[in-house]
């Protein structure tokens, strides 16, 4: 296994913008996308704040320019929009000699439709309204819709590891390239809001009814979000002569093996994934210019992640922030969305603010960036994504 992996395209859609330009504009202006839930009815509507994309499914259908030959869930439409942007951004030429893959991630899949027809499924009666949609429920559906739309055939698969899913998709894509199985890959993830997820997180009692406050002493939980984020990664050979954005210099995945949903108090898994990522990149911790933290705003995550960062970086902690107060926690899409934000930070020399922060956590000696910092020379960005099932993943992006 050998060779560098380069980022040649980015694509994103979330509560703060329908593409990379709109997203950057929101970030520069500290304009959050967190607000009320509008697209479906739930008893909990007034108890949650979410990062919901304003457009409804019909509008997303138009934006994605899909034909009417298949059924598209919201998850699929978001994925197609963001993956297509990354594809165009990378100047991809379909039909050339390079083997192209797609590694996508999702956790919700087609649950947004399935949950509306669940009694039909359970009752096993003669109502067949959901029948045409059955095959859209599982995680592979959005991946195959994206692959068909972009005509990607050489290698496709789907990863689902909760909140670290699309970070894992990106590193799997990189490894497929480094092992010579494909030359380039569209990698990332997509997730949409659903009643299933809102209720699931309510049952865990980790939702903040107000906009979340990552790394704040008074933080009260996370806000759910939706969206999609994809990178185009290419081998050195495939990227020749192209506009390369940066290098994916390091990545790593570990497991906290502590609890099904909570991270270990010391953040051991987080520490291991960050450390190995830097080792792979040949990077000393002192050379990291910005950490885009997982920073969900839950009591447990922010503490364990903070302790892990302190343990790894010692007395010289780089500027860091969580952008989840902008987008919400986009679950399986978070790693992909935040990878795109990390590349934007690198290319534009901006460190994004950690919104809604007021007071440093008493257990930590670190304070996030609270205003957009522009005109910075950013050479490396470390992005963290930690998920249920104990999964801890990190990615390192480096300017050329």
């Amino acid at each position: 296994m050998s060779g560098s992996v380069f980022v040649t395209g980015i694509g994103i859609i979330s509560a703060i913008g329908n593409n990379a330009d709109e997203t950057l504009h929101s970030l520069r202006n500290s304009r959050t996308g967190i607000g009320k839930l509008n697209h479906f009815r739930t008893r909990h509507a007034n108890s949650v704040s979410v990062g919901e994309i304003a457009e409804d499914n019909q509008q997303l259908h138009l934006r994605s320019a899909v034909s009417n030959d298949a059924l598209y869930t919201r998850t699929s439409l978001l994925g197609i929009i963001a993956a297509s942007e990354a594809w165009r951004n990378a100047g991809m030429e379909p039909g050339d000699r390079f083997r192209t893959g797609l590694v996508s991630a999702t956790s919700v899949g087609g649950m947004g439709v399935a949950e509306d027809h669940f009694t039909e499924y359970i009752d096993e009666g003669t109502n067949n309204e959901w029948l045409p949609w059955v095959n859209t429920l599982d995680c592979s559906d959005s991946t195959e819709r994206i692959a068909d739309h972009l005509n990607i055939r050489d290698h496709i698969t789907t990863i689902s590891t909760a909140c670290s899913s699309s970070a894992n998709a990106i590193m799997y894509g990189a490894r497929l390239i480094r092992h010579g199985i494909i030359d380039r890959v569209v990698a990332g993830g997509t997730d949409s809001l659903s009643r299933f997820t809102v209720n699931g997180f309510m049952s865990l009692k980790i939702l903040d009814p107000s906009p979340c406050r990552p790394f704040d002493a008074g933080r009260a939980g996370l806000n759910l979000g939706e969206g999609a984020g994809y990178l185009v990664l290419e081998s050195e050979r495939a990227a020749k002569g192209k506009n390369v954005l940066c290098e994916l210099a390091g990545y790593a995945n570990f497991n906290d093996a502590y609890h099904q949903t909570a991270s270990s108090p010391e953040g051991t898994g987080a520490f291991l994934s960050m450390r190995k990522t830097l080792e792979l990149a040949g990077c000393d911790p002192s050379t990291v210019d910005y950490i885009n933290a997982h920073g969900t705003g839950t009591e447990i995550n922010d503490l364990s992640e903070g302790l892990a960062i302190q343990r790894l970086f010692g007395t010289t902690i780089p500027p860091f922030s969580s952008t989840k107060a902008f987008t919400g926690h986009t679950l399986a899409a978070a790693g992909g969305i935040e990878a795109v934000l990390s590349v934007l930070a690198l290319k534009h020399g901006i460190i994004f603010p950690n919104l809604h922060f007021k007071t440093t956590m008493p257990e930590l000696r670190m304070t996030p960036v609270t205003e957009p910092l522009t005109g910075k020379r950013i050479r490396t960005v470390l992005s963290n994504s930690f998920g249920f099932g104990g999964n801890t993943s990190s990615l390192l992006f480096r300017n050329l």
Partner: protein
């Protein structure tokens, strides 16, 4: 890229969990479904924990532990799973409670267990294993991607023992909806007659198959996995034949170097032509076998097939019950497995070592 298969653990609709040998007697389907023969989970898990755990998670943990014991390994340095539908039973349970109680009185247990990487996460918890932990959820590529992930780790010296599994359960509701979609035979047939009717549909199945993939050969090694490849939405049987040719050619082999071609025929007249075409075009003189009358059709059935191939190579004989046709090979050292699930097609190369 290669890996040694150095431990097996299989919970399937046949008697396979007690020992990794081909079972003496054949279990048949009931109402077009082959349901797993399950161990007493209290043998693998704390009974209190087992009572609260979803069925597919128990199937996963138990098969993983059987595999670890078989391999003589206490803790692997990677845990990778593939599943087509994930923890479907728990998803159904949570959603039912949300709807029945109108989004009130929510308890998190079934929500947490419904998350697709629950099996891999639980195994890591049980073993205290902090290493690489991935889950693939892509229909007929789920298990294949998991194997490829393991092989890449071993090849790059990022792991030496990768515990890799393919798991899917068939819930009653899911069986019913697939029936409505026309997946199953219209009339009930026994699984031993699966291939005798040229009609649409097949029979349902499920299973949990775990493998200890190792960088080096061990005393427990069954066989060598020499390649796994995925082909999406082939446009013709010619394309499948060409793809198979390239798969072998890049490994310095031709069709005649295969001693047994193991096929994922499932009795469905709409799709079995892929298998028959490949066999007739490329493997005319080769011994052939099929396996779905033993495990049924499900997204990760290639896990059952890989177990079967490993056992065949270790024992050095092909069970009559899986044979297709009359050709018997003198040599039995290389098996090509060709399987598909809807538009996802895959090839495996397994060798005696």
């Amino acid at each position: 890229m290669e890996a040694f298969i150095s431990g097996l653990g299989l919970i399937s609709p046949q008697e396979t969990y007690r020992q990794n040998k081909f079972p003496d007697s054949l279990r048949l389907s009931e109402n077009n479904l082959l349901r797993c023969v399950e161990p007493a989970y209290a043998d693998f898990l704390n009974p209190v924990m087992a009572r609260r755990m979803g069925r597919v998670i128990k199937m996963g943990i138990a098969a993983a532990m059987i595999c670890l014991k078989d391999a003589g390994v206490e803790k692997p340095d990677a845990i990778i799973t593939g599943t087509g539908l994930g923890c479907l039973g728990e998803t159904e349970k949570f959603l039912l409670s949300v709807i029945r109680d109108d989004e009130q009185f929510l308890t998190p247990t079934s929500f947490i267990q419904s998350i697709q990487n629950s099996v891999a996460g639980q195994i890591a918890l049980q073993l205290g294993c902090m290493e690489h932990n991935f889950t693939f959820v892509h229909k007929g590529f789920s298990f294949e991607s998991a194997l490829l992930d393991a092989m890449m780790l071993l090849d790059a010296d990022e792991a030496t023992m990768a515990l890799t599994g393919g798991i899917d359960e068939m819930t009653a509701h899911n069986f019913h909806i697939y029936q409505k979609l026309g997946h199953w035979k219209e009339k009930v047939i026994p699984s031993d007659l699966l291939y005798s009717e040229k009609t649409p549909g097949t029979i349902g199945g499920e299973g949990s198959a775990f493998f200890m993939l190792t960088k080096e050969k061990t005393l427990k090694t069954y066989a060598k996995l020499c390649g796994v490849s995925q082909l999406n939405r082939p446009e013709s049987n010619e394309e499948i034949a060409q793809y198979t040719n390239r798969f072998l050619e890049t490994r310095g082999l031709s069709f005649s170097d295969t001693d047994l071609v193991l096929l994922g025929c499932n009795g469905d007249s709409g799709t079995d032509h892929h298998y028959h075409a490949l066999r007739e075009t490329c493997f005319n003189g080769t011994a052939a076998g099929r396996f779905k009358h033993l495990c049924g059709e499900y997204q990760t059935s290639s896990g059952f097939a890989l177990w079967l191939a490993s056992v065949i190579l270790k024992e050095g004989c092909i069970p009559d019950i899986i044979r297709m046709g009359q050709i018997k090979n003198e040599r039995l050292s290389r098996i090509l497995l060709y399987n598909s699930y809807e538009n996802n097609h895959s090839l495996f190369l397994i060798e005696k070592c």
